[in-house]
Symmetry: C2
């Protein structure tokens, strides 16, 4: 049995569980986002700003994924929302089974949105469906304009691109228009937002879109 | 046959080829560095500054690894050094076989250093020996101070840590001492450098160390 056969079987098994997760979420009317990015692009900070902004408007629960530590769950818990930390112990991505297990420990009563924060990795999480409604890829301005072309699968599989750390643009050789156009050349239907979690720029626009989208959903 | 058995077999096979690569390099007196980091931490920029600084002092050849595109090989080729691009086509790390194949197309005559620039990924490349002498992990100040604790295997397996983009520190909530101490708590024997590829800060120190180390080697 080859490695490729094994890999296909792993992905097939994953897709089955993802389907069950998706059914569970849809039956409860919960909109689920899978946050993906390079390490340190600002997924947790973006989540914190989102929780702050939507507090009292939309009940949100969080599943945190990390290779090690529960730092992110600790950060999120301060916002008084249900949160579970998955530690992958070296694993490079979350899979649907890990999410299904986490759901056993997450109180979804009255919850309207679940944010799954994936392991910081622009490659492997692209191939694993967790049962989410959409993937949200966060790209930091500091990473350079060429990342969508160098890691195309992630940008192809995402529905939303959040260009984060725009407050740093004056100090960088980066060009946000080039980054955006590179991403749109890979995936023309990407919904793009530009944010700074330091200055709060763009956070309201992103949160308003999220609120409208998750209310509008079938 | 389980996935874990397959994974172990893949790593065993990899280690065999890595051993052969290492013998080839040592027989030729070539010092080999495996550059690893998150996407956009500045591996290619650091390599460019290193090529510039050591020009005329140490002949360097380069193996570039990317999921897609040959952008990095094009950037490096401008420095008039032998370079081969490996495109992994979705693969999340380089392995020893890919490096062995690349060596078939790389002229090593008179070469003293080979730099292998791995795929931007702080997880998977940590487990794959390519036959290098040392792993050099590049961490950008923009990624936050907690990355060594969240991705410990990479920092444990590296010999050198280069903290890059220090020119951005005045604009960041990051604390470089915390980052350094977190890394040293994982791996106390890390040799640490602080650099900026924009201002050239720290590049001379890093290159001088590299020159001394590769001359000193057994």
């Amino acid at each position: 049995m080859s490695v490729i056969t094994i890999e296909r079987k792993v992905l097939e098994k994953n897709d089955e569980i993802a389907k069950a997760n998706r059914e569970l979420f849809r039956n409860r009317g919960i909109y689920v986002l899978n946050f993906v990015s390079s390490p340190g692009a600002g997924k947790t900070s973006l989540l914190e700003r989102t929780l702050e902004h939507l507090r009292g408007r939309l009940p949100i629960a969080v599943i945190e994924g990390d290779v090690q530590t529960d730092f992110d769950a600790q950060r999120v818990a301060k916002y008084n929302v249900p949160v579970v930390q998955i530690v992958t112990n070296g694993g490079c991505h979350l899979d649907a089974k890990l999410v299904a297990d986490a759901l056993q420990n997450l109180d979804l009563t009255d919850i309207k949105i679940v944010v799954i924060e994936n392991v910081g990795n622009l490659v492997c999480p692209a191939n694993y469906d967790l049962g989410e409604e959409i993937k949200v890829v966060v790209a930091s301005t500091t990473e350079g304009d060429d990342k969508p072309l160098k890691y195309p699968t992630m940008f192809r599989n995402a529905s939303v691109l959040i260009i984060n750390k725009i407050d740093l643009l004056p100090h960088l050789p980066s060009n946000v228009e080039v980054l955006k156009n590179n991403a749109l050349s890979i995936n023309p239907s990407l919904q793009v937002f530009e944010t700074s979690c330091t200055t709060d720029a763009g956070i309201a626009g992103w949160c308003d879109w999220l609120e409208k989208t998750c209310v509008k959903k079938p």
